[in-house]
């Protein structure tokens, strides 16, 4: 019981540290790709400290509650994801719960931003929900094929099965869903070429346009958590999880750096181009993978 409580407290802290580290790393690596020196690795932490100590303007009750819902939803998802052996709540519900709770992040931001009644916010929210609609369809196919192949919804069991056999990404029936997940991962993380939601040059950072001070700090922490969730799910399902958090972190780091290079190399798509792409190639690949798994069984 005590161990369980410690695990429940520890796993969001680990996710927060890794997420903030990834945010700092992304700024540093992007700077080096641009041939700049770049900010220190701790810059996101400095930003969060500053933002928490600023006076901030609220726009009403839902504005406050929505951002907390978004952050809380992300923290709850983290509890269901096993990080090495650290798996506080993953015994109950498994992937179905994650699939439901992953929507709370965008939904909370949408509720909160909607209260501010800024035109840029409305555009940003609609883009966020459209993009979520775009990647949820292939994600559903991918999770279905993983669940069908291993005949379980528990992520812990999937990780164990991969330990005895090969990683799912390199085993034949799950190769196609793995590739599809890699194709939609930039959309889940909200980085280029799918950075349509924030888009500071077009719509003044979208849903965040009215966030200042504490609200922006919470939104940045939520962003760090969502980075962690998107990559950790991939590592657990397709890269064989890990036996301890250190190896898990290394695997996440490799995936994240690959995503950063994609982020640096591609320009931003328009929102309808993004949805067209997401509903065409990743969905097709994931669907063929699902059919193949059904035929093989």
């Amino acid at each position: 019981m005590v161990v369980k409580i410690i695990e429940i407290i520890a796993s969001p802290i680990i996710a927060f540290v890794i997420g903030i580290f990834f945010l700092g790393l992304s700024r540093k690596i992007m700077a080096r790709i641009h041939w700049r020196y770049g900010p220190p690795l701790t810059q996101p932490l400095i930003d969060v400290i500053k933002l928490f100590t600023q006076r901030s303007v609220s726009h009403g009750g839902i504005f406050n509650l929505g951002i907390i819902l978004s952050l809380g939803g992300s923290i709850v998802v983290v509890l269901f994801l096993p990080v090495g052996q650290l798996a506080p709540l993953s015994g109950s519900g498994g992937m179905l719960v994650i699939l439901y709770l992953m929507l709370l992040g965008p939904l909370g931001i949408a509720l909160s931003g909607g209260e501010a009644a800024n035109p840029n916010t409305s555009i940003g929210i609609s883009r966020k929900l459209i993009l979520a609609l775009g990647y949820e369809v292939p994600l559903l196919f991918i999770l279905l094929s993983v669940m069908t192949h291993y005949e379980t919804i528990s992520i812990v069991k999937i990780v164990e099965e991969q330990r005895s056999a090969a990683w799912s990404l390199f085993s034949l029936p799950l190769l196609l869903p793995g590739i599809a997940y890699l194709l939609i991962l930039p959309a889940i993380l909200g980085i280029r070429p799918f950075e349509v939601v924030q888009a500071p040059q077009e719509i003044s950072s979208g849903p965040m346009v009215e966030y200042g001070g504490v609200f922006l700090a919470l939104a940045q922490i939520q962003h760090a958590f969502s980075l962690f969730i998107g990559i950790a799910l991939f590592v657990n399902l397709f890269l064989g999880g890990a036996s301890n958090p250190a190896i898990f972190f290394l695997k996440m780091l490799v995936v994240f750096i690959v995503e950063l290079f994609i982020n640096a190399a591609f320009p931003r798509l328009r929102v309808e181009q993004a949805v067209k792409y997401l509903w065409r190639w990743p969905t097709l690949v994931a669907f063929i993978g699902l059919i193949a798994i059904l035929i093989i069984r």
Binding site: A31, P39, I46, D47, K50, Q201, E210
Partner: protein, 193 residues
């Protein structure tokens, strides 16, 4: 630069946070904005100082007023400044906001920007080089360290003065006062006599 001294971070985290994380609102007035793109991108890289441009005033705490300020732009500047969360720092960039510069006799630009909003520091020159922005940032750090970058406190205390100047220029303003307005100096003098 004492950004890497951990002891200072534990001693006064608030001040250190405000020093090393400056979000500059991307607001362009006049020709000075031509110096901003090279200084935030690869050539001069403002991000290594913790300065990044943000798109909205709600997220910003540094306001660079780049170049001459026409009367019409001043209205937008005041509204942007009032939307920024405290503490906020303002830097006048170039000689035009200081005393009018080459527009000293123009009918349509304002001559002294610090009559309308409080300014924490000036960068002289026409145009200042991008290096001058970084010198200004390091000076701003010193000012924040000594708690002398208190323009936002001045705006709160002397709001009556600033609002009177703004109203003198624009006539009636379209937005309500940010802080409660006390008596102006003339009214105080009348009351005394």
């Amino acid at each position: 630069m004492d950004r890497n001294q951990l002891a200072k971070w534990f001693k006064e985290p608030v001040k250190m946070g405000h020093k090393y994380s400056l979000y500059a609102v991307y607001f362009c007035t006049g020709c000075g904005i031509i110096e901003i793109p090279p200084s935030i991108t690869s050539r001069w890289d403002a991000e290594r100082f913790g300065v990044i441009p943000v798109a909205t005033p709600r997220q910003a705490n540094l306001f660079l007023i780049t170049g001459y300020v026409s009367v019409k732009t001043l209205k937008a500047i005041i509204r942007t400044y009032e939307q920024m969360p405290e503490p906020k720092y303002t830097v006048g960039f170039g000689s035009c906001p200081i005393n009018g510069g080459m527009y000293w006799d123009s009918y349509n630009t304002i001559k002294h920007l610090d009559k309308y909003i409080p300014i924490d520091g000036w960068i002289a020159g026409c145009m200042p080089r991008p290096e001058a922005i970084f010198v200004a940032v390091t000076h701003l750090w010193t000012l924040i360290d000594k708690e002398m970058a208190n323009g936002y406190k001045r705006y709160r205390e002397k709001y009556t003065y600033y609002r009177a100047n703004q109203e003198q220029l624009f006539g009636k303003l379209e937005w309500p006062p940010l802080f409660p307005i006390g008596d102006t100096h003339e009214q105080l003098a009348k009351k005394k006599s």
